[in-house]
Structures are given as C-alpha cells and as structure tokens.
C-alpha cells in the first residue's frame, strides 16, 4: 500500500510517501516526480519519514532522474528515512549519489 501527497512550501515541493514502494506501485512515485518537474519545480524534497519499505523499482525511479535533474538544475533530496530504508540506499551506494538528509530542516537549509 502506497499513498503519495504533494505539499508546496515555496520554493520547495515536498512529496510525502507513506507505505511501501515496490514494482506494483513505483509508477505512482515516477508520475509524481515527473509532474512536478514538468510544472517547473526547482526543489523537490521527498519526505521518507513514513516510507516503510522500498524495493529496486522505487530506487530505480530516483536514479532515473539523477542526470536529467543535474542538467536542468533541479534539486532532488530525500529526508527522514528510517535506518532500515536508508540501509537499502546505502547497500547500492545511492547515498553517495542522491542527497539524503536526516531532517526536513537540513534538507531545506542545504537547498
């Protein structure tokens, strides 16, 4: 089960992900990020505080935007991941490629 909601806290857009991301629903995350990028968002912050699980399908969504966002100057950051979810990013080395912060405040400050 996954629910995604988007909050605008200018100049940031915050994607709140709640539940589990796997191959059955990762398209929802993809569509949320895509729609924000298309409407011109410059800072996308993903609130992972209620993300209970992520498989490679979800990780792949984040990775697929890395180059494009770098070229377009769009910031993508993830914050408040639980230790077990963060560990999955770390196993793949994605913590070195994607900006992952402990708190929302840190994510905003770093922007």
């Amino acid at each position: 089960m996954l629910s995604i909601s988007i909050l605008e806290e200018s100049p940031h857009h915050i994607i709140q992900v709640k539940g589990e991301i796997d191959a059955s629903n990762s398209v929802q995350l993809d569509e949320s990020i895509r729609s924000l990028a298309e409407k011109g968002a410059q800072s996308i912050l993903v609130d992972g505080s209620e993300l209970e699980y992520i498989s490679s399908a979800g990780l792949g969504v984040f990775m697929s935007y890395l180059e494009e966002f770098q070229e377009k100057g769009i910031q993508l950051k993830i914050f408040s991941l639980s230790p077990k979810v963060f560990e999955v990013f770390r196993i793949l080395g994605l913590d070195q490629l994607i900006s992952i912060l402990s708190t929302k405040e840190e994510a905003i400050q770093e922007s």
Partner: protein, 137 residues
Amino acid sequence: MEHKIQIACRTTALSELRNFLNQTLLPSRLNENELNQVTLAVEEVCANLIIHSHQCNEKDHILLAVRQESDRLTFEITDKGKAFNLLDYEVPDLKKVISEKRKGGLGIILVKKIMDEIQFESHRGMNTCRLIKLFRS
C-alpha cells in the same frame, strides 16, 4: 522447519509475499534490518520472474519455500517456464544504469550483495533459485 507460499504472477502479489516473509522470519535470529534485507532480496528475485519470465501472467505461479536451520536461512524459489539464471546475469555498473536511465538491474545487485550464496538449477522446465543467508555468530 519449512514454510511455503504460492503466489500468482502479478506484481500486487509482492505485498502478500512480504507479509508471509515477515511472519515466517519473525521468530528467526534476524534483526529488523536483516529481516528487511532478506525480504527485499527474495522479493527482487520473484519480481524479476513475475515481470520478465512470466510477463505478469496471473495464471502462472511461483512457489517459495523457506527453510530455517541452525546456521542459515534457505529460500527456494521455484517456477515453470523460461529460465532466468541470475548467476549468468552480468551485474550492471551503477553509472551505466544512471546514464542509460534504466530502471532495472538494481534488483540483481541487491540480491548479490545481501545473500551469502545463490544457486540455480533448471530441470525439465522447472527452475529453482536458492538464496542462502548465513546467520552471523
């Protein structure tokens, strides 16, 4: 002790698979982090089979058997059909995955990093992938 589950080849069955693993492995010696990782590795193999070997055909099934022994957990994943031997699959370079904007390939990296041993055999149309996780003493 062995526990088994059969799931249909649809991606929505993956949450069913996770629930089964969480319940089955709760009394094991794994901590929360390890439990999450072995669940992920088993799910990645099953997701690959569902999507790539069975094209999400709900009439097809995958059987998972979990065996707990004193020093290890063995996950035996059996399906009928086109064999997908992940031992033959070349692990993609992470940079290549990014530059080609591929959304696949990461799962196999995870399985290889999380599990201690991977075995594969195919016999008369039945494919068996065995994932082994050793308990750290």
